[in-house]
């Protein structure tokens, strides 16, 4: 995906075409039925890259066939997960790759309109995408009767306004419609009733870039990369106490997390031992040093009790108190809780307040149990997964670094 990201010309249509751009689209529009595109993506084993990891082709199949309502495609470019900055690489350096993938997806699901919901804090991504769209439109790649195929698809950029929750697909739809970015109750699922109550598929930027690669090089090629359950390559954003942070493109299943951190990323930049690593953004469980030997692929990491999530790998060394990391996470999620449903609205801030109290040395021994119980009651009782994005990591810190929390309530502020 990032093969040509270093080439400044890749942002332009001409540069993109030089590297085989839009050939897959042309081939699909001229020679493939929409279902064949879906079949190809299904066969590739592509899983969504936004965090939940659902089979993309399968998701597309949920769109009801032959309905009278228009079908929409939305690109989730609201990349807001702490530690995640991969989608912007695609949008800013290779936006046509996303646009081509989106057109392929739109063709597969029968969508005549595609909205690119880009995080408001990403002005460069917004500009790059809009510039690419201008060129694509002028070249007849976006709009009416694309490449003379009879297939039409308009594409619009919609900037977000600074809410993490709008990366949740149904909140994204609410926001697109002009409402508050509130997640919706499911069912109905967006594939059946999404934007303007019409069938809608929401796909992540990287997912669509993969679609381009799959249709360009074939499902078999894609499926041959990585490993079972983690087909293809994936983008990972490594940050924190590492010598070589950055966005990496990896095949999964070929090495362990420890190898990734120590060999590719050069170990900690402080020279101190790693204390913990979040392998999939802030929303998932931390892995302790003993767990770093897990094979680095979605299924193995899931088995280890965490997730590759949206690909944000964050590392901290042993100078860091796990309580402070948990507090940082809780502060983020309580600030970003949309406030729609009770357990998340009230609970996230409560968790933050307890952690803050502990970090300031005003915690009590009972706070550990309280924290555990409060997070437990937020788990599985809310409309969307934001509460769990707070609960799961916080519980994992509490479980794996209990001594840090106990030390804090015994005396001694950490923050």
């Amino acid at each position: 995906m990032l093969e040509h990201a270093g080439d400044p010309a890749q942002r332009t249509l001409e540069g993109y075409r030089r590297h085989g751009g839009y050939i897959a689209l042309e081939k699909a529009l001229r020679t493939m039925q929409p279902d064949a595109v879906t079949a190809e993506v299904l066969q590739s084993g592509l899983r969504g890259r936004g965090g939940a990891g659902f089979l993309t082709g399968k998701k597309w199949q949920f769109v009801p066939k032959g309905g009278s309502k228009p079908v929409y495609l939305c690109i989730n470019a609201d990349e807001s997960e702490p530690g995640t900055c991969k989608d912007r690489q695609i949008m800013e350096h290779d936006p046509h790759q996303m646009i081509e993938g989106a057109l392929l997806a739109a063709y597969a699901i029968g969508a005549g309109t595609c909205y690119v919901y880009i995080r408001g804090e990403y002005p460069h991504s917004i500009r790059a995408t809009e510039e690419a769209l201008v060129e694509a439109r002028a070249a007849g790649l976006v709009g009416r009767d694309i490449l003379g195929s009879g297939f039409s698809c308009e594409m619009w950029v919609h900037p977000g306004a600074g809410a993490y929750i709008c990366g949740e697909e149904t909140a994204l739809l609410s926001s697109l419609e002009g409402g508050r970015g509130y997640p919706r109750l499911k069912p109905p699922f967006p594939a059946v009733e999404g934007l303007w109550r019409c069938p809608t598929i929401v796909n992540n930027v990287e997912t669509l870039a993969c679609v381009t690669q799959i249709l360009r090089r074939g499902a078999a090629w894609f499926a041959g990369l990585g490993c079972a359950g983690s087909a293809g390559t994936r983008l990972f954003c490594v940050s924190g106490h590492v010598r070589r942070p950055g966005v990496y493109e990896f095949e999964c299943g070929k090495f362990t997390l420890r190898e990734l951190l120590e060999e590719f990323c050069g170990g900690t930049n402080t020279g101190r031992p790693i204390k913990g690593c979040m392998p999939g953004g802030s929303s998932f469980q931390v892995l302790s040093p003993a767990e770093l030997d897990v094979r680095f692929d979605a299924d193995s990491v899931a088995k280890a009790g965490s997730s590759l999530g949206s690909g944000g790998i964050m590392v901290f060394d042993d100078s860091v108190s796990a309580l402070d990391v948990a507090l940082n996470i809780a502060e983020f999620y309580s600030h970003e809780s949309c406030g729609q449903c009770t357990p998340c609205r009230e609970g996230s801030d409560w968790v933050k307040k307890i952690l803050l109290r502990m970090a300031r040395g005003r915690g009590t021994a009972g706070d550990l149990e309280l924290l555990w119980d409060v997070t437990r009651k937020m788990d599985g009782t809310t409309i969307c997964p934001l509460a769990e994005a707070l609960v799961w990591p916080v519980q994992s810190y509490l479980k794996k670094y209990r001594e840090d929390f106990e030390a804090a309530v015994r005396g001694g502020a950490t923050a």
Binding site: S337, G339, Q340, W350, K377, M378, G380
Partner: protein, 509 residues
């Protein structure tokens, strides 16, 4: 109608149309699932999370309001897992709540109080600072908002949008800083806005009219109907010390659903008006009822030859109207009118007839008074004045011979009898859609006050010695059933608390 779904809810077998939400399905099985945001007439919000239930075979707990019944479903609404989750939600709802029940108007009818007792943990574990939000916020002339008490269930938001058609309230900020705001200049404009006070499950929205007037547990509640227009919205009238303090709608899917208009709700000052007359009067001077009734009988008897004009009020109950009709029959009164106040209606509830019983007056044989009325030629006028909205012109009254008038307020008359208001009597009216509905006595405004039906029947008895008046309203209603076909087959019990349609052939359009 969807296919029937057979479910087991807490062990009770129940059959409902597939897709019925689990709160309603449980209700039918006799099981109450607590809820805040769910309201049967509003869209599903699913935000309060109090109605979480366990559906066998589904991993996570599901919210009852957004889960449709499927055949074979086994649901648990009160097992340990559900109770724990529900207790958790209750705790979350209360951590930032001010817990100011002692000064909150909602106390006594607050779902936070009720559920805290029924489903709460009973223990406070929150020791951090509460979130502070705006209090005593004016939402215009009728509604006052307290954001700290608000649980953000959005019932008010949805009501104004979906029922009233005036989407003025929305949520500002996010997370636990979320608060409701009113668009525009901050004042609600809907003529139905006060319904949001009723559907607010907590003390966040209070009525400027009613707040701080009385604790609920000192009040008496009477199921009756609103008499401000012909709709006849079913209401619960709350009174204390024989004064009406508030009216709130009472659910009746056939009439007003869960709602009533603000005008009807707030239009009750006349009931408590201390300037009301409470004794009979002759030429402006108080007179004992017995004497006044005798004089009325003599006066009417004396005017018989010259002719009597009877003018009924569409605010009278059917039983009163038929008492008046009986008296008119006894006196061979030919001219029988009634006055009908008219005004604006709307397409939700407000009816253009600004009285509860014009239909009943017509059924009792009274005809709408000609407008303007011709110069009177009668020797005596027997006039039950409408409490508002229509009246015989003064010049007409001046020429109408001897005048026996029933009125709420002072009025020039040879004999003046006080009127009683709708909350001071039992009786029936015929509302819009030809629906017979019951008024129920809730207060005694003045112990000496004699209701119109008694006065009319006593005058009647004085004129016709064999006449036996019905005692209760139920007995009086039973006599109606012998009258026009419209009332045939109806009984007081059949009318019940929710009313019943008139027989079709007697319908008055």
């Amino acid at each position: 109608m969807s296919a029937p779904a057979h479910l087991r809810i807490d062990g009770h077998a129940v059959t409902v149309p597939a897709g019925t939400n689990l709160i309603e399905a449980a209700r039918r099985a006799g099981v109450t699932v607590p809820h805040y945001c769910y309201h049967p007439r509003l869209s599903i919000a699913g935000n309060c999370r109090v109605c979480l239930v366990e559906v066998e075979g589904v991993g996570k707990l599901q919210i009852g309001c957004n889960t449709g019944a499927r055949d074979g479903m086994v649901v648990h609404t009160a097992n340990e897992r559900v109770k724990e989750a529900r207790g958790g939600v209750m705790e979350f709802l209360l951590i930032n709540h001010p817990l100011d029940c002692t000064i909150c108007d909602q106390a006594g009818e607050c779902k936070l109080q009720d559920y805290a007792v029924d489903h709460g943990t009973g223990v406070a574990r929150f020791e951090d600072g509460k979130v502070h939000k705006p209090k005593n916020v004016s939402w215009g002339e009728k509604v006052v908002f307290d954001s700290e008490r608000c649980i953000l269930c959005t019932r008010c938001v949805r009501f104004l949008d979906e029922v009233a058609g005036t989407p003025q309230v929305s949520i500002d900020e996010r997370g636990d800083r979320s608060t409701l705001i009113v668009g525009g200049d901050g004042a609600l404009t809907s003529p139905y806005q006060m319904n949001i006070i009723d559907i607010c499950p907590v003390g966040a929205l209070t009525s400027r009219d009613f707040r701080f007037k009385s604790r609920l547990w000192f009040m008496r509640f009477t199921e009756t109907i609103c008499t401000s227009c012909a709709r006849g919205c079913n209401v619960v009238a709350g009174s204390r010390n024989d004064r009406l303090l508030r009216m709130v709608p009472r659910e009746n899917p056939e009439v007003n659903d869960h709602w009533m208009c603000d005008h009807g709700r707030l239009h009750y000052a006349f009931v408590n008006d201390e300037a009301r007359i409470v004794t009979a009067k002759a030429a402006g001077r108080p007179l004992p009822y017995a004497a006044a009734i005798d004089q009325a009988a003599q006066l009417l008897e004396g005017a018989r030859a010259q002719g009597i004009l009877a003018v009924a009020s569409p605010f009278m109950t059917n039983e009163e109207l038929w008492a008046l009709k009986g008296l008119c029959d006894a006196l061979d009164v030919k001219d029988r009118w009634f006055l009908k106040p008219m005004g604006e209606g709307d397409d939700l509830l407000v009816h253009p007839e600004k009285c509860p019983n014009a239909r009943g007056a017509a059924l009792a044989g009274f005809v709408e008074a000609p407008a303007p009325p011709p110069t009177p030629t009668c020797g005596a006028l027997l006039y039950v004045a409408p409490r508002e909205g229509a009246a015989l012109p003064p010049e007409f009254l001046a020429q109408a011979g001897k005048r026996i008038v029933f009125s709420l307020r002072e009025q020039e008359a040879d004999l003046l009898f006080p009127l009683t208001t709708f909350l001071e009597k039992d009786g029936t009216v015929v509302s819009a859609g030809d629906r017979v509905q019951r008024l129920t006595k809730g207060i005694t405004f003045d112990r000496n006050l004699l209701a119109e039906r008694s006065v009319l029947d006593r005058i009647h008895a004085a004129l016709e010695p064999g006449f036996v008046a019905p005692e209760t309203a139920a007995q009086a209603f039973a006599r109606l059933a012998e009258g026009p076909a419209a009332f045939a087959d109806l009984t007081w019990a059949k009318v019940g608390a929710l009313g019943t349609p008139l027989a079709r052939e007697g319908a008055t359009a």
